[in-house]
Symmetry: D2
Subunit: 385 residues, 4 copies
């Protein structure tokens, strides 16, 4: 029987990381709040006491649920009658494992930012910890929360594209095109191998592109050949990666991720081509999905419009023409998590149709980074994934 | 001294209307919740007892703050020590006045859906009630909450377009292109003169287009000539309107609103042309604003990007390339309301830079509908606005 | 029997107007040449001798077929054994009638630039002259030469849009947003009532928009209400017009044309909405036509693509994805003219399926301008068209 | 002294290939005709006598200048007083060398379709022949004829993008996504190694992408790693290629070409990223070039608009907003050829500013195909280019 069997109403949520100056912590908070399924009640938003208190006050946490030490937080919350049922982990990559472990072993559900960990060895430890725990593990590869990404997945799965031949996925940004200011907190840890892990752009955004491609196509990668580069002088981690892909069954593809592509803001884009049709989805205008049957006219499928599938419509809140964006998609991952967590209260499995990226996708993402690094070191030799 | 002088933390919010089957009530709830500034604590979501209870439970209201009668709600909440500080009114147009009056007279801030009222006479009564009250009146012409609408306004105000010559604004939908199903609650009251008021499309969406145009340009309309039409057989209110506009100072324009334009989802679009430059903004892709200097290249200004003004950046939550949408814009109106309400606690006026559509814009919107109807009855004669 | 019954091969073509500094003359020459159906052999490119000779040399005309006087040209060419079979008239509007008359009365086919004439009275004289002549009269409302305009027309005619309800047509430019340089030949005559006629923007581009709308929809206008304006100080003719339209059968619409809309280059755009579907076509990206069935996904129909009709495919030269543009569309009007002229050699009527704007459309265009001016003078009263 | 020193007026042109059923021959004819600089006077449009005669008649060639044997044509035309001054070669790839050689050795200028030849060995022989000849050699990599491609080149050359880091170029089509009909003449030779050469998609369209990238960036490739695939069962040549690129100086890139990408028509697209700015150009909407400075707004540069460079404006015919397309770009290559040919009449070199792809680019294109094939056979090893 679940230790949260008695719980009703919104899920009490804690957060580790996400103090002042962070970006993704705030995103998680909005996402958790948007549909009213979670209530943030505790947090170790920073390991610096003063900052932890100030940040907690700012987001409205009571003092007695404000922590500086995540171990203490995990221990105490696990004992409290109204302690947190889930925790959002929004610390730099190298800290994902130690933090998550504390909560997992106490049966508290973990909602962890991506990539899963900085190293493959850590990823495997995380997987072991997650498998040993009764708690759920949700990885916020948020882009799979977009309704039209679900639509794309449903159409591919239904055979509308025929047999898949080609996948072109890319994720281009330019925010690291120059040496960032020393006080840019987000940039500093992401370009530091000790905190970010083996991958730079590959880890930070390449894993998103990989996850999106995997989710929509269902294709199983066989091997990849990567050419990684650090364009900004002195940068230790990759800030650009060109990757060629081979899939089981013969499909091919490329993945390009870059954080130095001048003029690109958050250019995640997926194109999939099969024997019967092709499709295209761009994150920067996420309310449109383009599907073109071979020999037919391109159709612009809009979010929530008449012909869309249940798989995508269940994740929309408002009629077509009223754009939903990044937060709504992120909130959809939280919504899926909430449905699984509520089912778990009564010992039920994840409800049918509910999907969120989990530990397996997390390990796979880190394995992708690892493979890129290995291939690139071997002068872009094909390496198995 | 304000009666809410002691209050701290999130603003306790009530809601009238917005029960099961409604759309806009849910939007208000998300908008209120998104930034954590409001907490919904009471509601008369329906005048039918059973439905009121069911809807209240669904949105997590406690039973003792669930009402079926808005008068009773206003009276009781005004007496409670932790009673609501503001109320969201999301009932059909003809009920805006009676509902709002109950709260206004008790000093409870009103956040009212648009159009202000169904008739101009009601609008004037509402204005009187609002002016007599200490409470704030916020009208949710939500489209002015989009950051790039603020950006457009700021650029026009700064003279970037030169002297304005032309305004082309349109709002095209198709959801009323056919006789709606009898159980379509949203459609039924909007096409009923008794509940919607004098305007059909003009009231429902024309007022949005008008408000957007007025906000961005600051132009003062002098007169209009309108041709209203009801295309769907048996429909009593307009479902399409063509309106020509003349402004003080010589600028000209047109406003088109339609709910029968097959293929249009929520096509609100504004174009403004001055002696030095023109601009264009489309609600369906709201993260882009296009500005073209006379003789220069079109610039795509993205939300939150480097060159944007403080007026727009203060209303964004996340870097460019991460799309914000309809809910975020709506939440911005709630955010502006929250800043004004919090200032009001200590008797302060609306903080500088904070903007929300208020009673004056509301009266003006209803006057626009009234002028359209009068002009159309006089075979599109020019009538003063 | 036709006086050109013996002719074979390319049509010998003359030109009046189109000397150095002109724009549209060059366009006609490219259009005539593009498909090889015409051969330019004679011309009165200017009424100034020196300029006529220089311009003729530049375009490769032999000296003995170079004229300064169009009357002399008409007389002499009509006598020559290998004289011109058709003439392109590319002079300012007020000269269309006197020039065309000389050729029409000698049985030489006339390809005349638009608008037909500067005044309605001239237009009617032109019609009389054309009807009295055996020669064909082709008016270069070139935009109906775009294949996807033909496609739009075919789909409307086939009932794909259902009963038409709304037409929104616009043609916005900015090249006259300021007082032009005195030596801008194209601007100077277009803003001069003596040479341009009663209409400014209405005549120069409004007639194009009108013709496009009429061609695609087939709707018969009943009346219009216009608000004309001259924004540039000192300008005598309209540089902006807002026009509301009522059609037989109850459809409504607006036409907007402007030459002072800062940032607009050549923004001709047509939208048509019926009970079953809507469509949109933009001249600036003419290889796409968007059609949206009510309740369905927007389809991007590309030129020459698989599902397009014979009516549009017969006017394309190359597979989809290889853009055709302004010249190709213009050349399509010349192509239609050529097919009619060749049929006329053997006394045949215009072949089935061949379409070009003719004298009737020309008169109608001038009547449109005339109605706009009359309505505007009567403070936008509805006037019959 | 040039053997054509006496010539004046349009350049007399011959054509080899391009009979009924061919596509590119017709394109060359329109391109040659569009600006009036060439006159087609002779041709061996087919090697089958009947077809040669019928095709020649159709395009208006006189019987005595109609050939079936290109050797005879070369010999006889070289002797004629008014013989051809240039020849367009539009036969399958394997025939480019033997045909061109006949004309080059007689001093007749050659305008040859791409790729230069089917094999690298032939390409080198062609280079030798061209270098030995007095005649000019023009290769119709027509995409560099687009004005905004010239604009892009000029901006890169002027340093507007800073130091280049990344090039992403792609050319995606779907017309060979299925086994073509046996009577599809264009498909049959392109998928036949004997006639097409070593490359399938790489040769047919990859060389275009390569040439475009080379022209715009000026970057010198150092090596490439390619993964070629034939998706359609039984196909001998590649129909898809993923290629990673390394340039001298450290820039990186990818080139993707495909003829099996369902839904893509003629999707040639170039993106270039430097330290200061990025740019994007898409062939399917060629009248727009997007340039985004790092940290600035994207600018949509339109063809012929105010800020464009002389390098692009000299190749446009009409004001912005009047789209030019594929034929106009192709005609620009012919126009450049004409300027060079006319200069050659008086022994002058290619005039300054005139540019057309020549023998060197041709050899390089075939070397690109050769490198792709070699790399792919060695499991995508990096090979020098």
């Amino acid at each position: 029987m679940s230790r949260f069997a008695e719980r009703t109403g919104p899920i009490r949520l804690g957060m580790v990381g996400g103090g002042a100056g962070a970006m993704i912590g705030g995103v998680h908070r909005v996402a958790a709040r948007l549909d009213g399924a979670f209530q943030l009640v505790a947090g170790a938003l920073s390991s610096t006491e003063e900052k932890a208190r100030a940040s907690a006050a700012q987001v409205g946490l009571p003092e007695d649920r404000t922590y500086t030490d995540y171990v203490e937080m995990a221990k105490r919350e696990a004992r409290l009658k109204d302690g947190i049922e889930a925790v959002s982990i929004v610390v730099p990559n190298h800290m994902h494992l130690p933090v998550a472990r504390e909560f997992l072993k106490r049966g508290i559900h973990v909602i962890c930012d991506k990539p899963l960990t900085g190293t493959l060895s850590d990823a495997r430890k995380m997987q072991a910890a997650a498998e040993k725990s009764e708690a759920l593990f949700i990885l916020t590869h948020n882009y799979t929360g977009y309704p039209l990404v679900r639509e794309a997945q449903a159409r591919v799965a239904a055979g509308e594209l025929g047999d898949l031949r080609l996948v072109q996925v890319e994720y281009a940004q330019d925010w690291l095109a120059e040496e960032p200011e020393p006080d840019n907190k987000q940039a500093s840890w992401r370009t530091d191998p000790a905190r970010s892990g083996a991958g730079g752009a590959t880890g930070d955004i390449g894993t998103h592109a990989w996850n999106l491609m995997r989710f929509v196509t269902g294709l199983v990668p066989e091997s990849l050949a990567a050419d990684l580069q650090s364009f900004v002088p002195g940068r230790e981690l990759d800030d650009n990666a060109h990757v060629m892909l081979r899939f089981d069954g013969g499909a091919r593809g490329t993945l390009w991720c870059s954080q130095v592509a001048a003029g690109e803001e958050n250019g995640l884009k997926l194109r999939v081509y099969g024997t019967k049709a092709g499709l295209e989805w761009r994150q920067e205008n996420p309310n449109e999905l383009r599907v073109t049957p071979l020999g037919g006219a391109t159709q612009i499928i809009t979010r929530a419009s008449a012909g869309t599938s249940e798989a995508s419509r269940r994740l929309t809140r408002i009629p077509p023409g009223h754009p939903e964006g990044f937060f709504e998609a992120f909130a959809n991952i939280y919504g899926e998590a909430a449905r699984a967590i509520i089912a778990a209260r009564s010992g039920q499995p994840v409800p049918e149709g509910v999907h969120f990226p989990s530990i397996a996708e997390g390990v796979e993402g880190v394995a992708f980074v690892d493979a890129c690094v290995r291939s690139s070191r071997r002068n872009s030799a094909w390496v198995p994934v």
